[in-house]
């Protein structure tokens, strides 16, 4: 029993409750409460990453297991959970700090921070949850908060995007609920660790395959993988910019990719067919996402399409590791592929949130998202231009930046495992990504100044809180390259990789058998 685990849910949930009350008393108390509680959560996550190793369990309500069979809800912190917690809370803190200036133009700021903290509470709870229904409940908390946040602007586009997002999100949630019902029917338990044990010993393969297909469809929709991607560009480009950076940077990973990894590695018996399906879906979203992105002229829409493509890299890396493991291939190559996928997950969180924050800063200054109406902003907004250049280079895989190393690891793993087509497509996607970001840089920051906005509005650099978040993320873009060094990697990345590599060992570790 570790009594500190529920703090990850209690702090944001309590803050979400207190923010509207405090905001009634003191005007700015609510927003500072949100920022400070997120800072505390990031501190807690960093503390757990570096100082407290090993899996730990918290039994909610003190329900001890009976004869080794868990009867209560578990909260489980292992290498993968803490890795995700670090990403969620760090990006959450920077986005909230950025919102301090950015959200000034909106009304009902305290409600915005309430929803923001609810979303954080949902994601933290989901990542920590060791019980599949509890995981579903936390997923819905995060998803409902994000539906409301997408519609926060309540203009025509925002409402339409939010409605689309809600209908597709609703369908995916119901598919997941159906899968959970079937799982309970088959195994008689909801605890993830117990499920892992039960499903490995006795399970009907056809039934199990049906459940896994439902789960891929459900969580594939949440991750916006290729055939299910239609809602993402609308939702992520219509939300306020700090929320876009949370949705693209964190939410699709926490409520989509994380659950896919957890379920298909640790709960179900590893199967080559499922891994192959995931790898194909990942490759398709990687290639098609980037091809759709090239033609976009809306700044945030372009970034949203790149999210589909970059999440493809994450899924491909992890699914490749799963394919190798399922065939009892080289463990070294499998761990390299998984490490590449997880490394890219964190890198994508950093550079994609930075790019969305840049887009927000540009929109804040110029008042438009259409790249054809911009140009020459580099002189007026030097910090935004510099940080966006570093993020663009990171996402297109230019050497000193973090994106290069994670893509390189995925490609090396693909070559070593003999998946040459995959390696080629990963390189090809990276080149197209570079082309589309060169276009973005040229038309927004380095082209000639357009007359359409130059005469009417005075373009100024963004205020301090926005600059601070962007500069920190730009520094992280460079600093995360250090994760490629083995000794640094062992502290942060390796526990997460090992959590997936242990596969069915998850059940035994958590139940302590």
């Amino acid at each position: 029993m570790d009594y500190r685990l529920p703090l990850f849910v209690i702090i944001p949930l309590g803050a979400a409750f207190l923010i509207p009350l405090l905001a009634k008393l003191f005007k700015r108390a609510g927003e500072w409460m949100a920022v400070l509680s997120l800072l505390a959560l990031s501190g807690l996550a960093v503390y757990f990453v570096f100082l407290e190793k090993g899996a730990r369990v918290y039994e909610v309500g003190g329900w001890r297991p009976l004869d080794g069979i868990p009867i209560g809800i578990y909260m489980v912190l292992d290498g993968l959970s803490i890795y995700l917690l670090l990403v969620i809370n760090l990006i959450g803190f920077l986005s909230a700090f950025y919102s301090l200036s950015y959200m000034k133009k909106f009304t009902a700021e305290s409600l915005y921070y309430t929803l923001f903290m609810l979303m954080i509470a949902g994601m933290n709870g989901l990542v920590l949850s060791g019980d599949i229904f509890n995981l579903f409940v936390f997923m819905e908390i995060a998803a409902i908060a994000s539906y409301a946040l997408v519609a926060f602007g309540i203009e025509k586009e925002e409402l339409e995007a939010s409605f689309k997002y809600q209908v597709l999100g609703g369908i995916s949630s119901l598919l997941i609920l159906l899968a959970i019902g079937l799982l309970y029917w088959q195994s008689g338990t909801l605890n993830l660790a117990d499920l892992a044990d039960v499903l490995r010993t006795n399970s009907n393969p056809v039934f199990s395959l049906f459940i896994q297909t439902l789960l891929i469809a459900g969580f594939g929709l949440k991750t916006a993988m290729f055939p299910f991607h239609a809602w993402l560009p609308d939702a992520h480009s219509s939300a306020p910019s700090p929320i876009s950076s949370m949705l693209s940077g964190v939410l699709i990973k926490a409520i989509g990719a994380y659950v896919l990894m957890r379920l298909f590695f640790n709960i179900f018996a590893l199967s080559y067919d499922i891994a192959l399906v995931l790898a194909i879906i990942g490759t398709l979203s990687m290639v098609i996402g980037v091809l759709l992105a090239v033609g976009q002229w809306d700044f945030k829409r372009l970034l949203a399409y790149h999210s589909i493509s970059q999440m493809g890299y994450v899924v491909v890396g992890v699914a490749m590791g799963m394919m190798i493991l399922a065939r009892n291939g080289d463990l070294q190559v499998a761990s390299l592929a998984i490490a590449g996928g997880l490394f890219h997950l964190m890198n994508h969180a950093v550079f994609k949130s930075l790019l969305f924050l840049n887009a927000g800063a540009v929109e804040y200054a110029v008042g438009t998202r259409n790249m054809k109406d911009m140009g020459g902003l580099a002189d007026k907004m030097p910090v935004t231009a510099a940080t966006s250049l570093s993020a663009s280079m990171a996402i297109s895989g230019i050497p000193p930046f973090n994106g290069f190393f994670s893509k390189l690891i995925i490609i090396i793993a693909a070559v070593q495992a003999g998946y040459y087509v995959l390696a080629f497509l990963a390189v090809f996607t990276s080149i197209i990504t570079l082309a589309s970001f060169l276009k973005m840089q040229r038309f927004t920051f380095y082209n000639k100044i357009k007359s359409s906005w130059n005469g009417t509005t005075e373009v100024r650099e963004a205020p301090f809180s926005m600059l601070f978040s962007m500069v920190v993320l730009a520094v992280l873009c460079l600093a995360l390259s250090l994760l490629a060094i083995p000794s640094v990697r062992d502290a942060v990345l390796t526990p997460a990789v090992n959590a997936l590599l242990q596969a069915g060992g998850y059940g035994t570790v958590i139940l302590g058998k």
């Binding site: 229904f133 409940v137 819905e140 409902i144 539906y147 409301a148 519609a151 309540i154 203009e155 025509k156 586009e157 409402l159 339409e160 995007a161 939010s162 409605f163 689309k164 809600q166 209908v167 609703g170 369908i171 949630s173 119901l174 609920l177 159906l178 019902g181 309970y184 029917w185 909801l190 560009p233 609308d234 219509s238 033609g295 976009q296 829409r301």
Partner: protein
């Protein structure tokens, strides 16, 4: 067995409504039907023929109980469903105020 099939049929009717109907309110009703079919399904999983309420008492005549866990799940699922439906309706009403229609063919500013 037939009950489960009817449950599945209800789920598919809801899905049909979501996919085919062009009125925002009808889409929301479709989602609600899907959700209730799943609630019914969860309750069916826990049903045991001839079972009684799983409460220990002095004068217990039978040892056959229904499974209480899915019922707890259904309660939670109903609350979540309430939240999603309320939010969907709120957004639908806002859309009506902006576009003066519930027809999705008229509401298409986002493309590509």
């Amino acid at each position: 067995m037939i009950v489960y099939l009817l449950c599945m049929l209800l789920f598919l009717i809801g899905l049909y409504g979501v996919l085919v109907k062009r009125n925002l309110i009808k889409i929301i009703i479709g989602l609600a039907i899907m959700e209730y079919s799943l609630n019914l399904f969860l309750a069916l999983i826990g049903y045991v023929r001839g079972g009684t309420v799983p409460i220990l008492s002095q004068d217990l005549k039978t040892s056959v109980f229904v499974d209480p866990l899915p019922q707890a799940l259904v309660l939670t699922a109903i609350v979540i469903g309430l939240a999603t439906t309320a939010l969907l309706l709120a957004v639908a009403i806002r859309i009506y105020k902006k576009y003066h229609t519930f027809d999705i063919r008229e509401i298409k500013r986002l493309k590509g």
